[in-house]
Amino acid sequence: MSGLTQGERRELRIVGFLCNWCSYGGADTAGVARASQPTDLRIIRVPCSGRVDPLFVVKALLNGADGVLVSGCHPRDCHYGTGNFYARRRLEVLRRFLPVLGIDPKRFSYTWVSASEGQRWQTVVTRFTEEIHELGPAPRFMDAGPLEREIEQPASSPLHSLDSASLESLAALKQAIASRLPELDLVLGWQEGRDKAHLVPLFIRTPEDLDRLAIGPLAVHNLAVYLPELKGRKVGIVVKGCDGRSVVELLQEKLISREDVEIFAVACHGTFDTGRIDQALGRYQHLESVRMDGKELRITCDGRERHFSLENDSSTKCLHCKTPLSPLSDHSFGSAPSVGEGDSTPPDLARLDAMTLDERRAFWRSQMERCIRCYACRNACPLCVCRDHCISDTREPHFTTQESTAKEKFFFQIIHSLHLAGRCTGCGECQRSCPVGIPILALREHLIRVTDELFPEYRAGMTVDAAAPLLTYSVEEPHIQEREW
């Protein structure tokens, strides 16, 4: 503010979101008791901690807040009964999400203060302000320099064998679709695209269309993305394991109806990273042949044969796949490989894990500078169901500006990721469709890891009638350790 002298200690920017009924009252009580507090905090009054969209917190942190504090009624004391139970889950997911963005999670805290707890409020404000001062001013995203250290992508071995076994089911699949086609408006599958090395979606309406059906490790598209638009029509869909989970998630979210969808599940033994193949093939004039030979893909173009193997060139999502066969199906084909035990960290995520917070910010800054804001990631995501109403495009509400900066583009990725929290099945379509190859799947994979930690009994896209973890709550949260003050 102009013309005013500053206090001895430079104030930092701390934003508080306080529920009207308890914490705002608690702050009032502290004031009435003349309980002295640091002056850094600015309070935004909201009706309920459940009103706090985690995106408000990210917005503040990306735009210069050095710390953000959310405070609501104590669990069980919510003025609205259950608002803070939802807030607890969502804010805890947010807290654990921040590090992968390169934001120190210590800059965000949430707690509970009742209207009578003036003293507790004083303690919370004082401690939190001290902690933020210990951290110092938050580094700005747009000040992040280039990543100075090369970080190796760790090797990762798949949880099940990857090979082309799925090809064997094609005849049986075609037969099944042929027998069902008269009763269906259309069936979604894959076909050869511009050449044999590139499969594209196929909309089967006639037996002739069916002849073109292709499957196999090059059938990468998640066709579930088309289903919401086809709601109300009888649609058959050929799905890999991961695609099937998207269908289940859409059913759970009532965006499609079970009676309108017929699921043809194909056991999947892995898909190729088509971006990697294209890069290896480079520009070519003429493609002579594409042959799958066990685990090997042999592509001959312009007289040169190149070999790709699922061991080395699979999509990274396949490395930690636990659902090679759709959890829900009407017909299933092929035998699914047996899935190994344990969890493996996806390679891109493991690389981020190996970075410091500063390095992660530098990493994302440089990656986001490359983003052309084409929204292909959003359009390919089967769970991006807002379609024309995405809040990154609107002014009501006006979450992002149209300014083409790495920060705004990063904020869009955060919006997309947080909107997928507890819903994302990790199908990887966002990253596959990115024309500039930004490893954005890692953000979603990190959130999957977070929700797995917090809600281990739940996996997105496995059961139609399950309750998504952020749309429900428990009175006691066994996996959330709240901080003491």
């Binding site: 503010m1 005013l4 004031g31 009706p47 009532k254 965006l255």
Partner: protein, 653 residues
């Protein structure tokens, strides 16, 4: 937009540590602010008049007041701007007193902070839209939970005002704690004689329906339209047939049942009528002691009952009632004083609670009003009263004063002398709190006329001396020396806590409660009867410790709130509720799934799902707005854009 900003000095409350004139000057530079000033007292009549004048003079269409907490004066100023013709929701407050001037002394920091809070309020106001409340009909019936003196008063006042009352009492009789008392201070009136007629009024009032021996199972709905589920606990007696003749209680062979009404002093039969003036005067079987129900053979009461009212196969019954308002008057219980090992932790029969002592003194009590020792039936000659047992004692989690123990202890000391003229009473006390009409005079009378010996200090140990008496060791802190007394009877003034089950009831009513379980009023000073849930009011000790006249007063106050509420044919709903933006909704129903009030209805038409907010049910929490990914449901007055505007005002890096 044309915004006016008023930066209140609040005397020196704000002006002392915030440069209000500077804040007003800075506010004048904010977008759309056309007028800013710094009045001395904005909430006072001249201050409000100045706002109205400024609205007219400067054609303001929005007002920001920077002053105290909006929890204090937001309604006040909303009315002010409304008087001047603005929509009351074209108003925002910046809290620069509780959140600024009172918590920091550094004037430059405070001034900067105040200016930023004003900036946030201005930015939010710029996105405010006029809101109009909807009107909805009211069910003009009231539920009173608890039939103690506060609940009785509230029920009678409502009923006299023409409002049908549903009273639910957990015990088999109304009357509450007051019905157990022998006499009341400071007049030493017979408690039953003053309460009894009121209890009869409840029973006979055409506007009151009473559910005794019943509890609240569930509460749904909202102000004006609550649906209450009541569990009528089984009594094993068909009350429509029971005449209260008492034959069953005389003939019942299970004579060793715990006598709850008499606080466990003495024993009673398994089928009982709590006391002679009970309302309703109906028998209840205590299933823990009834031989028919525990052993399967007896059936005496069924044989002797002249009207055939006994029904051993009776089960709980669930009834629902529709009401427009609820008064909670659930009272209190004594804390479990056995946590005090120094007082014997309940091992010695001649250490009793003051409420047990009331039953001993009461003519309708187990001893017919003769004060005798529970151990041997002997008349005590030396009685020691110990005050503050579980009051003002943070070590047992009860830091608060129970409020009325000083007075009833004085009363009990006086009555002891009346009953046993050759007795002598001692009172150990911490402080005498006798701040009521005729109260101090009354305690003086106990000392000066009745010779009660008051000893300022705590008791450290009580134990049997082996010769039939109790040794009471304590400290006289005025004389600074230890005191050792021989007592025939020790009466503990046990501290009170919220009635058992109060928290569970609060959850059902969605009202707040404090750590001791007492229900929280809406504002400590200005809204002592209201709760934060519209239409739910408080009466009596459930809200905090108070004596009989205060409980009665609050019962009447709660009734007046109900009558005020029902004076209108319709109620206005809070317009700060969620609204859907139909074109944006994809029908995923995530909002409906989370809504704590079930206020979001999903409509399916032509295979398309849309959602709709039921205006009267929405309470404005905004959980739906935070849940909807595409921003298709917005909470009016706290829209995404309004909160973002506040965030953006603060964070512009």
């Amino acid at each position: 937009m044309r915004i006016g900003v008023f930066v209140c000095h609040c005397g020196s409350n704000i002006g002392g540590t915030v440069d209000c004139a500077e804040v007003a000057r800075i506010a004048g530079t904010f977008p759309d602010v056309v007028y800013s000033t710094d009045p001395m007292y904005t909430c006072a009549e001249p201050g409000q008049a100045a706002i109205e004048e400024a609205i007219r003079e400067h054609s303001l269409d929005g007002v920001v007041v920077a002053s105290c907490s909006p929890r204090m004066h937001e309604p006040t100023f909303r009315r002010t701007v409304e008087r001047a013709g603005l929509n009351p929701y074209m108003f925002e407050m910046a809290n620069i007193r509780e959140h600024v001037s009172w918590i920091g002394k550094d004037i430059p920091s405070n001034t900067r902070k105040a200016a930023e809070l004003v900036e946030m309020a201005v930015e939010k106001l710029r996105k405010d839209t006029p809101l109009t409340p909807a009107e909805f009909p009211v069910t003009r019936r009231v539920l009173v939970i608890g039939g103690g003196v506060a609940g009785i008063q509230a029920a009678l006042d409502c009923a006299d005002g023409g409002i049908p009352v549903v009273m639910v009492e957990r015990e088999a009789t109304i009357g509450g704690k007051m019905a157990k008392l022998d006499k009341t201070f400071p007049t030493v009136d017979c408690s039953a004689c003053i309460l009894g007629p009121k209890m009869v009024d409840v029973a006979q009032h055409p506007n009151i329906s009473l559910y005794a021996h019943a509890e609240i199972e569930d509460v749904q709905g909202y102000v004006g339209n609550f649906t209450v589920t009541i569990r009528k606990k089984t009594t094993y007696v068909d009350w429509s047939k029971c005449t209260g003749c008492g034959t069953c209680t005389e003939k019942c062979p299970a004579r060793h049942s715990v006598d709850a009404f008499n606080e466990g002093i003495g024993e009673t039969s398994a089928i009982t009528i709590a006391f002679p003036q009970a309302i309703p005067k109906k028998a209840v079987i205590n299933r823990d002691f009834c031989r028919q129900l525990t052993k399967g053979k007896c059936g005496v009461c069924a044989k002797v009952c002249p009207t055939g009212a006994i029904r051993y196969d009776m089960e709980d019954e669930i009834v629902t009632e529709k009401v427009g308002s609820i008064i909670a008057a659930t009272g209190y219980d004594l804390m479990d004083w056995r946590v005090y090992s120094e007082y014997g932790a309940g091992r010695y029969p001649d250490i009793i609670t003051s409420l047990q002592y009331e039953r001993l003194m009461n003519a309708s009590g187990p001893t017919g009003g003769h004060i005798v020792r529970p151990s041997d039936g002997r008349e005590p000659k030396t009685v020691v009263f110990v005050q503050c047992v579980g009051s003002r004692d943070p070590s047992v989690g009860r830091p608060y004063c129970s409020g009325f123990c000083c007075m009833y202890t004085a009363k009990q000391a006086i009555l002891t002398k009346d009953h046993i003229p050759d007795s002598h009473s001692y009172v150990f006390y911490m402080d005498i709190r006798a701040a009521g009409k005729m109260y101090d005079e009354f305690t003086r009378r106990a000392v000066e006329e009745y010779g009660t010996e008051y000893i300022r200090g705590r008791v450290s140990q009580i134990y049997p001396d082996g010769h039939g008496q109790l040794t009471v060791m304590g400290m006289d802190t005025l004389l600074g020396r230890p005191v050792v007394l021989k007592a025939d009877l020790v009466v503990l003034a046990v501290g009170i806590e919220a009635a058992r089950g109060a928290k569970e009831l609060a959850e059902k009513l969605r009202i707040s409660y404090d750590s001791a379980g007492f229900f929280l009023e809406s504002h400590v000073k200005l809204r002592p009867v209201e709760t934060n849930t519209a239409g739910v009011f408080l009466a009596g000790v459930c809200q905090g410790t108070k004596d009989i006249p205060a409980s009665v007063a609050q019962g009447s106050a709660a009734a007046s709130k109900v009558l005020t509420l029902f004076a209108r044919e319709t109620l206005k709903s809070n317009p700060q509720i969620a609204k859907t933006i139909p074109g944006r909704c994809v029908g995923c129903g995530k909002c409906a799934r989370c809504c704590p009030y079930g206020a979001i209805r999903e409509n399916v038409a032509n295979g398309e799902t849309t959602v709709e907010v039921i205006e009267t049910m929405c309470q404005g929490c905004g959980l739906c707005t935070a849940t909807c990914p595409q921003g298709a449901i917005q909470l009016a007055h706290a829209t995404d854009n309004q909160i973002l505007a506040e965030v953006n005002a603060l964070c512009q890096a």
